[in-house]
């Protein structure tokens, strides 16, 4: 009951802004924060570029042509080639410099969760260092401020594991085990979904990730442990 109230409160608070419990624009994890700020910077830049192109086009259309072709190279070289090249180079350096972190390897003794994508639900198998493994379905519980490494398995079709508020998505491929590391930074309940079309139940293949304070995580693991026969 408290859980549901928690969800409802979080939902109403967030969805009025850019957010919602499933929004990449209301980040609650390190990866999502980086990508969201990249998005806003790029959007601002794109706005400037778009406006410049349109203003130049309007200027060209309004100006009474002189038939003077002596400066035609300037338009092409500066407008079409040089400016984009510089802008794109900056963007590449900025955008790709965060790749190593986004694709980072988790340190040893990180909480590991084996995600198995079924048609059409999520099976989570927890490997907490020093504890017996246990499983949950469609519900993740993660300690805030700690990295968590997901190992993604599928024995049927391709799915994609995506919790927008925490970070980017990663495909779940039969025959491969992909990895994804996330760092939740804010407690709360976040929704996730399958992002690769996986059949008739694709739209309903949802999950939730409940990010809890560190001190609440241990007791939860204990509870789950008791449910598993030794």
């Amino acid at each position: 009951m408290t859980l549901r109230r928690h969800t409802v409160v979080a939902t109403t608070l967030l969805w009025t802004g850019c957010g919602g419990p499933q929004s990449a624009l209301s980040p609650a994890g390190l990866e999502a924060e980086r990508i969201a700020s990249l998005f806003w910077w790029m959007t601002a830049g794109a706005g400037v570029v778009w406006l410049s192109v349109i203003l130049l086009a309007v200027f060209a259309a309004k100006k009474r042509g002189t038939g003077d072709r002596s400066r035609e190279g300037n338009w092409i070289i500066f407008g079409g080639a040089a400016t984009p090249a510089v802008v794109l180079a900056v963007l590449l350096i900025f955008g790709l410099s965060m790749l190593p972190d986004l694709l980072g390897v988790a340190p040893k003794n990180t909480l590991r969760v084996h995600v198995t994508a079924e048609q059409w639900w999520w099976r989570f198998r927890y490997e907490v260092p020093g504890r017996r493994p246990f499983e949950t379905a469609n519900e993740l519980r993660l300690p805030v401020g700690e990295p968590v490494e997901f190992l993604l398995h599928s024995s049927n079709v391709i799915h994609s594991f995506w919790i927008p508020s925490l970070g980017g998505k990663m495909d779940v491929m039969p025959g491969r085990v992909n990895r994804l590391v996330l760092h939740p930074t804010t407690t709360g309940t976040y929704l996730g979904t399958c992002a690769e079309f996986c059949g008739i139940g694709h739209a309903k293949m949802a999950m939730q990730a409940i990010v809890v304070p560190k001190e609440a995580f241990g007791p939860w693991v204990d509870t789950m442990q008791r449910a598993v026969k030794p």
Partner: protein, 819 residues
């Protein structure tokens, strides 16, 4: 000029002339655009509110799969082929394209394939795997015939697209007017040349991929089944190796339309002609190196992501150059406002948004969030509607007088524009945020309360406005125009050749073939229209009552041949019907019907070639005016037939290389390929097959020489021995995996070996039919020492067979040794 009159009555449908076939083709493509648009409307109705039950999950899957596929395969690509068949000859002052029956065949194949695919949804049997058809969903989790229809039906349509590409390339290379040297070619033709060349290299990987997937579906060959050594990622590589260039194949010809429209209304020649040509070519090259940006979330290493991010960004530069050339042209000239320019401007504003969001999603880091969400839906529609649909509508308003001599309505055109432009932005601008707020693609519904309701409802309302815009546009095109006055000749005061046409136009196109020394002859060459009308240039009359056109050299456009082209015939329709059977019957697992249909199709095609190609003229050469005399028959590398064979075989060898790509993909990525437990085909049989096939190839070349030296005995003996060697070659190649008892269902390795040898054997078999055809032609007196185009082109085919056999044997016999 009677030769060019279209037949009347029911025989009208046997016409092959470009202006008639091009019109059918364009009309049909617009029909598919409307059909695809209605499917989109159904989706927007379903998504208007959360939890809607208007469409079921299954039907929604059919609708989005068909929407994407129809728009890509039945609209975006064919619209440029259709428009080019319709207008390209006029733009180059030519009477026709060099292979009119091939155009007609392409049209009929497109019609049959398109109706087959679109019809499926009315039987609740359409494919449901999405337009990119990712296995294993489409290989092992989609029972029913939907996926088979997609794989086979679109392969058939891709064959027709390649046929049109061959036609257009040869047309642009060899059928330009005298004097139209390579730097005077209209920009439209340049772009079409680039796009058609891209088709040759982009479509074959998809045809190969479809073949692998269909073999897995029909015969359980495990190309994409991870449990038996296959890999679902191979499909994604092959698909996007096609899929990304495909976007530019749709986009470049639309820019080409803009490149024809802008100078007319700016009243000045285009600025930066060479820059535009180089940019188009640069875009084409780059577009083959970007495909992995559709696969950024598949778990590839960071280095790969960074490389493909950079390449994807780079393509923005040639695109920027082209846009700035247009802006500079408007700047230099004096812009005259008009409906076509309105659509060009709207397209620019929309396309630039799509280009910028494209740059954003090309940054791998951001792509992790945006990929497979409605953000990408918004991005791709900005690019395709801004970059393709708006220019196509601009061109519709611009070129319409060339079709029936009437102008479209300015008032309706403006009304439609504002509805389309506002409708588009209301639909797709909010969708960027819908996606980032967590709405994945291809969901038939979404939950309430997570911030998606308002955005989706807005998009759905926008879609209705967009639909209204298309309604107005269609009405303007289809409304009866009998009472409208004829448009004046050259109504926009354009400078390019197509506006020579009288209003309304004539089936033979131009009165005579002009000599060109400018990019804008109507502006620059004095008395040009009068000289053309009075027949003062080349080939003003067809004395022999035959359809004739001028063939010129590739670089300098010097007259080389007066080409007789075939007239109306139903054989193209029959060939398309029976070849269609080869693709349609296996959908229903009717393999015997498929075989019969294939044999009849082969018969039709041989009949078509026998009576329609390589005809021996009644005289050696013909005077075409101005004291110039050209031959009526040439063979070898100056002839259009040689080029058509060359270009077709480039596409064919690309499909073969795609199969090899699959082999190397498994070989590099999978440690157990080839697996130690499975024996390969060995060395003896493959090498025997190689030697026999090379002997057949050498004998074919000798037969060509003996034919030329008028040694019929040696010629027939050479052909006979070539056929025998080729038959033994087929036997030996197939014997390799057969003797080693390789079972293609067991593992991907034997499946790959079998596929390579069967592919090669089929090519040798076609080569045998060609050899026998040459012998029959000689025997029937249709091929002689002088008139030897048949054996000349067959030899060219055999060069490619030799390459194919060599590569196949090197791989299947050689690679297991490297283990």
């Amino acid at each position: 000029m009677k030769a060019w009159q279209p037949p009347t009555g029911w025989r009208y449908w046997s016409e092959v002339n470009n202006s008639v076939v091009g019109l059918w083709y364009t009309g049909l493509v617009f029909f598919f655009l409307v059909f695809g648009g209605l499917l989109a409307l159904l989706m927007r109705i379903q998504l208007a509110v959360p939890g809607n039950t208007f469409l079921s999950a299954n039907l929604y899957s059919q609708v989005f799969t068909l929407h994407g596929s129809v728009m890509m395969f039945l609209f975006a690509i064919p619209i440029f082929e259709a428009v080019s068949i319709l207008f390209l000859p006029q733009m180059m002052g030519a009477r026709e394209l060099p292979f009119p029956r091939l155009s007609a065949f392409g049209f009929w194949a497109f019609l049959i394939g398109g109706i087959f695919l679109c019809g499926s949804i009315f039987f609740n049997a359409a494919p449901t795997g999405g337009w990119f058809m990712y296995p294993p969903l489409t290989s092992r989790y989609e029972p029913g015939i939907g996926a088979d229809m997609w794989l086979l039906g679109f392969s058939f349509i891709e064959v027709s697209a390649i046929a049109a590409a061959v036609e257009l390339i040869v047309g642009i290379l060899k059928c330009r007017p005298p004097g139209m040297r390579i730097h005077l070619i209209p920009l439209y033709a340049w772009y079409v040349l680039v796009a058609a060349a891209m088709i040759l290299f982009a479509f074959p990987p998809l045809i190969t991929g479809s073949m692998l997937l269909e073999l897995e579906r029909a015969f359980n060959w495990p190309f994409f089944d991870a449990a038996r050594g296959g890999d679902p990622l191979l499909w994604q590589h092959l698909f996007w190796l096609f899929g990304h260039p495909e976007v530019y194949i749709a986009f470049l010809p639309s820019v080409a339309l803009v490149a024809m429209i802008v100078p007319t209304f700016a009243r000045t020649p285009i600025v930066g002609y060479k820059w535009i040509v180089l940019s188009a070519i640069g875009t084409a090259f780059l577009s083959f190196g970007l495909w992995v940006h559709h696969m950024f979330t598949t778990g590839l290493p960071g280095v790969t992501l960074a490389l493909f991010s950079a390449a994807s960004q780079a393509v923005a530069i040639p695109t920027g150059v082209q846009i700035f050339c247009f802006i500079a042209t408007v700047y230099v000239g004096r812009l005259r406002p008009s409906v076509p320019m309105l659509y060009v401007a709207g397209g620019l504003a929309t396309f630039v948004i799509g280009g910028l969001t494209g740059v954003m999603v090309a940054v791998a880091s951001f792509n992790f969030q945006a990929h497979d969400t409605h953000f990408v839906v918004a991005h791709l529609h900005s690019v395709l509607i801004g970059g393709t649909i708006f220019p196509v509508i601009a061109a519709t308003y611009y070129f319409f007088p060339l079709i029936n001599g009437k102008l479209l309505s300015e008032r309706l055109g403006r009304t439609a524009f504002w509805l389309l432009f506002c409708g588009f932005n209301i639909t797709f601008l909010p969708m960027h945020f819908t996606g980032l707020r967590g709405m994945a693609r291809r969901v038939y519904t979404y939950p309430a309360g997570i911030g998606l309701e308002g955005l989706n409802l807005t998009s759905s309302i926008g879609a209705l406005i967009l639909a209204a815009g298309f309604g107005v546009l269609l009405w303007d095109i289809l409304r009866p125009k009998g009472k409208d006055p004829d448009a004046p000749r050259n109504p926009w005061q354009a400078g390019s050749l197509e506006w020579l046409q009288e209003m309304p136009g004539k089936p033979w196109g131009v009165r005579c073939i002009p000599e060109i020394d400018s990019r804008y002859p109507l502006w620059d060459q004095p008395n040009f229209v009068r000289d053309v009308d009075e027949g003062r240039f080349f080939m003003p009359d067809a004395e022999e009552e035959k359809r004739e056109m001028l063939v010129t050299s590739i670089i300098d456009a010097k007259p080389e041949q007066c080409l007789r082209i075939p007239g109306p015939s139903f054989i193209t329709l029959l060939s398309a019907i029976f070849l269609g059977g080869v693709f349609i019957f296996p959908t229903f697992k009717m393999y015997w019907s498929m075989a019969v249909s294939g044999v009849v199709a082969l018969g039709c095609i041989l009949y078509w070639l026998w009576h329609g190609s390589g005809l021996i003229p009644e005289k050696e050469e013909k005077a075409i005016g101005h004291g110039v005399t050209v031959p009526l028959y040439i063979s070898g590398s100056s002839s259009v037939g040689w080029w058509a064979m060359m270009i077709t075989m480039l596409a064919d060898i690309t499909a073969f290389v795609s199969i090899l790509f699959g082999y190397f993909f498994y070989w590099t990525l999978h440690n157990d390929f080839p697996p130690a437990s499975i024996a390969g085909p060995g060395l003896i049989w493959p090498i025997a097959g190689l030697l026999a096939s090379l002997a057949a190839w050498a004998l074919t070349m000798l037969a060509r020489a003996w034919n030329r030296q008028e040694k019929p005995g040696s010629f027939y003996a050479g052909i006979g021995m070539a056929v025998l060697s080729a038959v033994f070659g087929i036997y030996a190649l197939l014997a390799g995996p057969k003797q080693a008892a390789m079972n293609p269902e067991e593992h991907v390795y034997p499946a790959m070996v079998w596929l390579l040898v069967i592919w090669t054997a089929l090519h040798i078999a076609v080569g045998i039919i060609m050899q026998l055809y040459c012998a029959a032609r000689r025997y029937a007196g249709r091929m002689t020492a002088r008139y030897d185009i048949d054996i000349s082109n067959v030899t060219l085919y055999w060069h490619f067979v030799a390459i194919t056999v060599g590569a196949t044997v090197a791989v299947i016999a050689g690679f297991p040794l490297l283990r």
